[in-house]
Symmetry: C2
Subunit: 550 residues, 2 copies
């Protein structure tokens, strides 16, 4: 009997469902459904039509349920797989996307008294309304020398969980009070599947992912969340947030959060009682989805931005990383997340600015020597995530002459992201985290062989590619398969499941070339000098330019 696992991959604009053969990871069918309301950043849907401040990015929770239902049914239909043969479901979700709900799972934004209030709606990961709140939380944490701060490289982001909750407490205290459950969207969706859907959910059946909690809500397996005293020091009304408003047990991705309820099964067009894995952040699902089950292999998810993840057997506090979380990516490992904010976005900026296509620029840039004929870029067009964690930085070019061609700017930007990536790797290694192998996934590697060759040369290491074009959704399906357990799948371990269902390509490996490698070693020194660890002249000027431009 063939057996299948379903991966539900919730992105920013749409949800994708894949139906995966657990014997070899083949995608038997898939479908993608755009959210009806997409990203809500201008005005609230419905009668109120309330205008939104800039930097707001909200979503409609019904879009997630309806989108998942349509995508799952369409994927099953396309696959011609019998719903009876589905053994598990995994869920990945953008993060930190979060919402306030009642104890029965009902999102506050669906209730008449709150529907016209932006703070009642789910906040999407890229909602940037909580800048002051993030500043305050960082400030208080530093003042109190909170030990958890070091696990996040010394700074937490305005995109994370508690700044977004505090924003609601500051701007709409009545919403904060009405929220019996503050929850990540991925966890909320799993709760709907295994306990609901609302209003039938029960708080005692709520499972939170160690991944989302660890990377976005400062949770730690040993220490738990930050203390009540800490939250009280931030704001007296905030003291109860964890104790009173965040029910739930914590489980690692791949652990079984529960099984599909009758009502949820009807929604998805599946049978009841199928095991559902605890959720995972979308990028992080790319690790198992790239066939990586071990420590010391870094997974690069390269798209408009980049997320670099690696598992290790040790916990090290590394300045500037997004976070280190036990069981954060796979059970049994310390998962490290690092990132670069502008990668594909930065290349697109160059292409748009010089009015040439990526294809044309790639072709011309490939003719240039390493070093782009003397032009160097800094890739911080939307700030620097790892290792500087500084949103006030910006992009730069130096070395421009009257003879500089557009493709030199383009190649310099490709090289800048690679040099920035090497800085991240060095930062991890210097802190004692082993980094030995690289697997690249996401949309960029297939589009730019030149980019991959530059990464291999700059990192002085082979770059392998995830075999699946849907490594994130495949990763979710693998976690669903793991949650189903050995009796249902035959896999005795996570390593075995990942080994069977995902892999890297063997037909295409980018290897460092001697001459380029040596040249990039020099250029890396210059890049670091220019970046000056964020404390130098260039960074100081950048910060003041951005302040002044506001």
């Amino acid at each position: 009997m063939a057996r299948y696992s379903i991966g539900l991959d919730f992105g920013t604009e749409s949800v994708r469902a894949v139906v995966v053969d657990i014997t070899d990871g083949t995608i038997a069918g898939q479908a993608i459904i755009a959210y009806e309301h997409g990203v809500i950043d201008q005005a609230l849907p419905g009668l109120s039509g309330a205008k939104l401040p800039s930097h707001y990015a909200l979503q409609d929770p019904l879009d997630w349920l309806n989108g998942a239902a349509d995508a799952c049914r369409a994927a099953i239909s396309a696959s011609r797989v019998s719903p009876d043969d589905v053994v598990g479901i995994g869920v990945d979700f953008t993060s930190c996307t979060m919402l306030p709900a009642l104890a029965d799972g009902t999102p506050l934004c669906l209730l008449a008294p709150h529907r016209s209030k932006p703070q009642a709606w789910p906040k999407l990961w890229k909602h940037h309304g909580a800048k002051l709140e993030a500043d305050l939380i960082n400030h208080v944490a530093r003042e109190r020398r909170e030990p958890w701060l070091a696990r996040y490289g010394g700074t937490i982001s305005l995109e994370w969980f508690f700044p977004k909750v505090l924003e609601t407490l500051n701007h709409a205290p009545e919403i904060y009070q009405a929220a019996q459950v503050w929850i990540e969207a991925g966890d909320w969706f799993v709760w709907q599947m295994t306990s609901g859907p609302f209003p039938r959910c029960r708080p005692e059946e709520l499972v939170r992912s160690t991944c989302q909690a660890g990377y976005k809500a400062m949770w730690n397996r040993q220490a738990g969340y930050p203390s009540r005293e800490f939250f009280a020091a931030v704001h007296p009304g905030f003291a109860d947030v964890v104790g009173e408003r965040m029910p739930g047990r914590l489980m690692a991705p791949g652990q079984r959060a529960g099984v599909l309820t009758e009502e949820a099964a009807k929604l998805l067009g599946l049978r009841a009682l199928i095991p559902v894995s605890a959720a995972i952040i979308d990028a992080h699902a790319g690790v198992p989805g790239s066939g990586v089950a071990d420590a010391s292999t870094m997974v690069l998810v390269l798209g408009t931005s980049a997320c670099h993840m690696i598992n290790a057997t040790v916990e090290r506090l590394v300045p500037g990383i997004a976070g280190v979380v036990e069981d954060g990516i796979l059970p049994g490992f310390f998962g490290y997340e690092t990132g670069q904010i502008s990668v594909g976005d930065a290349f697109a900026w160059v292409a748009r600015t010089v009015a040439l296509s990526h294809a044309e620029l790639n072709q011309r840039a490939a003719q240039l020597p390493p070093g782009s004929g003397g032009v160097m870029a800094l890739d911080w067009l939307n700030g620097c995530r790892t290792p500087l964690m500084d949103a006030g930085l910006s992009g730069a070019f130096v070395g421009i002459t009257l003879a500089t061609q557009p493709e030199q700017l383009y190649r310099a930007m490709l090289e800048a992201t690679a040099l920035g990536m090497r800085w991240i790797v060095d930062t991890l290694i210097e802190a004692g985290v082993s980094v030995e192998r690289f697997v690249a996934g996401g949309g960029l590697p297939g589009k730019s062989p030149l980019l991959m060759q530059i990464y291999a040369d700059v990192l002085n290491a082979e770059i392998r590619l995830a075999a699946s074009e849907q490594s994130v959704a495949l990763g979710a399906a693998i976690l669903g398969c793991i949650a189903a357990g050995e009796a249902a799948t035959g896999f005795r371990s996570i390593v075995e499941a990942i080994g069977a269902m995902a892999r890297v390509r063997e037909d295409l490996i980018y290897r460092p070339s001697g001459a380029a490698r040596a040249r990039y070693a020099e250029l890396y020194g210059l890049y670091r000098e220019l970046a000056a660890d964020g404390g130098g002249t260039v960074a100081a000027v950048m910060r003041r330019l951005r302040e002044a431009a506001r």
Copy 2:
């Protein structure tokens, strides 16, 4: 009786002749003739066709004579002025454009034994073959603490006179030996007019301009040229260069070098015995041509590059300036020359790179606030002349975000040249040179009112414009008029002649606006910090990038 003066303006690609009414400076007729061989930078003309090394830029001396003859005849014809009414001739020329000749004025490159040797040909100002020679001359001058070095801001350029001569001594000693006269092209042309043409010239009738000698050959009214000992220390064979190979008397522009010979008069289509002024460097002719006859008024000649000149009653040694020369621009003043290498060239680079027209970019950039929305540029796309005197620097942009538009890059580059200009003004003022008024000329002011407004705001001063579009050629004509003397012209002084023949526009004055002025004061601080007086991180990285790219 109407009286006219002729200005002959020798540029890089062509020579212009203007016939000017001395009563009010009206241009009665003009003509421009392109040099037959233009800039010789690929191969020598004629049978040899010898290929040239890169960085070579030569010219054919017959192009100057033939071009001047054609231009002068055509201008007279267009003006309908009788040759009998021409009272004087002035000559401006690119510099340091120079050549080796025999004592009878014959250029060595016209002689069969030397014709196939590049070192025998006139070297154009932008010939860059003498880098090692300039380095050596600077090194020896510093070692010996030569007092003249400080008058050139501490560094002499590979484009100047003695590096070019030494290049010939190093590469073709037989040419050096054969050269009885090493001479600036402007002086050579005046010699042809007043003593020749060759082979009839006589060394005792040779007049050299204090302008060219002062700015390009380290000559000084008190100290003369560098000493025989200095030249011997540079190279034993170089000891005789001034004593044996540079005959001639020195005269300031506006002084009478001689009168037109019969043969020269036939060539130009004029009558013999017309007074001819000592030559002047082309940009410097823009000072009288802009109506500036006083101290403390800076004349900005803005084209592909920029030359900023000012007269003063005091001699100050200013770090980084191109030079201070007594009688260098007008008799009776110390003339200061400063410059920016890439101005119009840098704007053209941006326009070409973003594939938009200057008109479109100017229109969009004019809508932006001061500061270009957070983008700042360094305008050193071909190195920095004043005040850093460093060819190893390059252009840069910082402050780029994903939202940065092409017009922000363009405006940032306009602003960078203005901020760099303010740095030059501050450098002069700090050294004790008074700078009180600004007059802009050259091709750019008419093309970009936005640029002029930015200069007014950044300098916090009114910018006036030269009334004549041909301020350089007009300046040459004014000098010809001065050389003619009071009896022929009625002008009792240089001030009177300049006042009658040239002026600034009264209908268009750019005035600083309050808000922009304050904003630019802040930005200037940031620009200086980024430039870090050439010693900071950015400059260090730039230098190494350019070295590595070679």
